[in-house]
Structures are given as C-alpha cells and as structure tokens.
Subunit: 221 residues, 2 copies
C-alpha cells in the first residue's frame, strides 16, 4: 500500500514557523530561515515558476518528494495561506484535499492541481487522497495541527524533518501536544551544508498511555 508521509522544515529548537504566522506572513517572523535551503534549489523553484537554482543533494530530496506524492492533504490554515500566495499552476500538480468545516466546490487550477474541500475529517480525506494517489504516496502537507491529527490517529507512516541549523526562539512547534508514546525509527539521514534531512518510520503509536497495543506498524504493511 502506498505510504502516508509528512515532510516539514524545522528549526533546531523545534519550530516549523516563527511567531506571528498569518496569511500574509505564512512562515512567521524569521520562519524563512528554516526554508532557505529549499528556496535555492531548482526543483522547488521550478514548481513556483521561478527559473534557476541549484541541483544538489537538497534538490534531490525535493524532487523525490514531488515525484512520490500522488495526492496531498492540508489543513484549512495552510490552504488559506497558500490560496493568496501560490502561483497558478500551484506547486502540487496533483489533487489536494483540504480539511475544513466549510463546504466549498472544488477549485480547479492549472497543471493538475485541484483543491477538494473535505468536511468529514481525516479518515475521509485520507480515503479520497489514497484513491487519487493510486500507487503513489499521500503527503500530509501541514500545518503542524494537521500533521499531529494524523499522528494521533495512527495514520502517519513516515515523518521527514528537514532540520535547519537555526534557532527561532518562538513560533509554532511541530511536536507540541504530541504524546511521548510516539515511537520513531531513523531510516535515512541526508546531510548537506545547509540542512539535515531526517527520515523516520513511525513504528508505533499508543493512543492511551496504558494501551500497549501497537496500532500502527508500517513494517508489517
């Protein structure tokens, strides 16, 4: 079965966005420092409609994720931030399922990106995304709340963290509220001069502290 993965830039002190994050400042104050490595590489720039950029290990990582993702799931805040900022065609080039409480007709953009609004929760979004992705993987784009929802539900197979050598001091923490019961196994590390790409398999996740049952083990899937 195809995998469900998330791929997030994070500062050394655990933030995926700086303080004062809002639609006109989606990464928050200083948050761009987490993503500087990505902004410079060819495959990221191409998806944003920007020429040039480096082809290096960091570029390979971005390209690999674009290639494997057959559908995306994101939260309504991330969508609201992107709606005003993404170019047309948007960078996804694949179906995107937006978790929201407000029904809305699908929004068809150029290049294969259609935003479908899902009001029935994570299970429904995942079922639709899996269907759309076919053999490819489903990427949980973010933000932190949405990734945590998938972790909490035992639905995340793989977590990629692109660890930037910066300290933000405040902002949005990826792991705030994630249970210490989350068990991760390092499966790959790729390091470059600007960032360290960490990949973890989600080995098991106990919903309650007393429940020793492994709800989710991708090694068995």
């Amino acid at each position: 079965m195809s995998k469900v993965f998330a791929s997030l830039g994070m500062s050394l002190d655990g933030f995926i966005a700086g303080p004062n994050s809002r639609p006109d400042n989606p990464l928050g104050d200083g948050g761009m420092r987490i993503h500087e490595w990505a902004v410079g590489v060819e495959s990221w720039r191409a998806r944003q409609g920007i020429d040039g950029g480096q082809t290096n290990q960091d570029d390979d990582i971005v390209q690999e994720n674009f290639s494997r993702a057959g559908a995306y799931i994101m939260g309504r805040h991330m969508f609201a931030e992107g709606e005003v900022g993404w170019p047309d065609p948007p960078p996804f080039r694949a179906p995107v399922f937006v978790l929201t409480h407000i029904p809305r007709q699908p929004w068809v953009r150029q290049g294969g990106t259609t935003f479908t609004f899902v009001t029935e929760g994570v299970d429904s979004a995942l079922a639709q995304a899996r269907q759309a992705a076919g053999d490819k993987d489903v990427q949980i784009s973010g933000g932190a709340d949405t990734v945590r929802q998938f972790i909490d539900a035992g639905l995340l197979d793989e977590l990629q963290i692109h660890l930037a050598p910066v300290v933000l001091g405040s902002g949005v923490r990826l792991f705030d509220g994630v249970s210490p019961a989350l068990e991760l196994v390092p499966t790959r590390v790729v390091d470059s001069a600007q960032v360290t790409h960490l990949t973890y398999r989600v080995a098991s996740f106990q919903v309650t502290a007393g429940d020793l049952t492994s709800l989710h083990d991708t090694a068995a899937s």
Copy 2:
C-alpha cells in the same frame, strides 16, 4: 588553539532532560530515553565501571569525545546530580571545573578526576580549563544553563547534538532563551539506528540584535 565544545543528547522536541529533574532523578522522567544509545556502548560503560557493551558508530563518537576532552566545565546542578551518582573513579578522568557560588576545596577522586570549584564565573573557569587541557579540547558538560552561558558569552566553538528519535513533551529545553542570532553551520552528521549525531560549528553570535559584528568565528582561529 584547542576548541570549546558541548555534546548533549536531545529529544526531537528539543529536551535534554524530562520533567522532575533533581539529584535523585537527574535525567528527569523519561529522560533516559534520550541516552539509551550511549548506555549500550562499550566506551561509555567502561567509564562507568560497567563491563560489556557494543562497539559501533555510536561507540566511536563517545570514544572520540573522551579522547579529545582534556578538561570539563559543568554547572553546580549537574555536579550536585553527579556527586551522588558517579562511581569512583568518575567517568571524566580529567580535571573538572564546577561553576558555583559556594567556595569549596578541590575534591580529588581516583583516575585523574579532580573537581575544582570556580566562583569567579565562566571566563575564569574557561581560563583554568584551557590551562589544564593543554593541547586538548575543553568540554562544557552541561546542564543547559551552563551551555547557554557559554553560547551567550560567544565562547562556544562547537555544539554536538545527539538527536534521539523520541518525543518527551516536557522537561528542560536546550535552546530556551538562546537568541535567534546564534548562527550554526553543520560540519558533520553521523547516523546510526538509534540516534543521529549532529555537529555544528558556532559561526557567529550577536549579543545584541543590532550588532552585526561577528564576535566569534572559529574558522578564523
């Protein structure tokens, strides 16, 4: 000149100890999970007077740090925790300088470890440690407060983080209160099945946000 380095285990969510850290529970609740990789390797065990253990990449890292450290500096809390827990001979086998406000005669232990109590602050501790270390490096052992004091003073050359694939949720954060002006450059990554060893050069550190002067650049030393 010899380097000043720190080497700390950290959880993915940024903690170097769990909650309720105190002398009889120095790592805090769940904090041992950060250090499981070290407890299993031969060189760490040997310094604790425990037989056996694995010889692997993780062991190489521990051994390398023991070899390069000619003197140690630690805070009074770490000393208080260790005083009741370290064996004799203690694991350092080198002079240890303890930052404290309470004068005390040096405490001589077996195997080359003498604890010297420094009441004149970090500059004095570092001068004494450099003198004692000779050509070897000076390791800032911890805790987090002490490492931050050296970062803030622009005295840390290298920061090693042994990133454990665990989430603690609460406890003592390494980077709490560290200024976003801290600039780190990744210089080495060693990954094993249990932990990712990250080494950063401290490139520069601005004491005030408006001060663009690089106070400290180990590349030039």
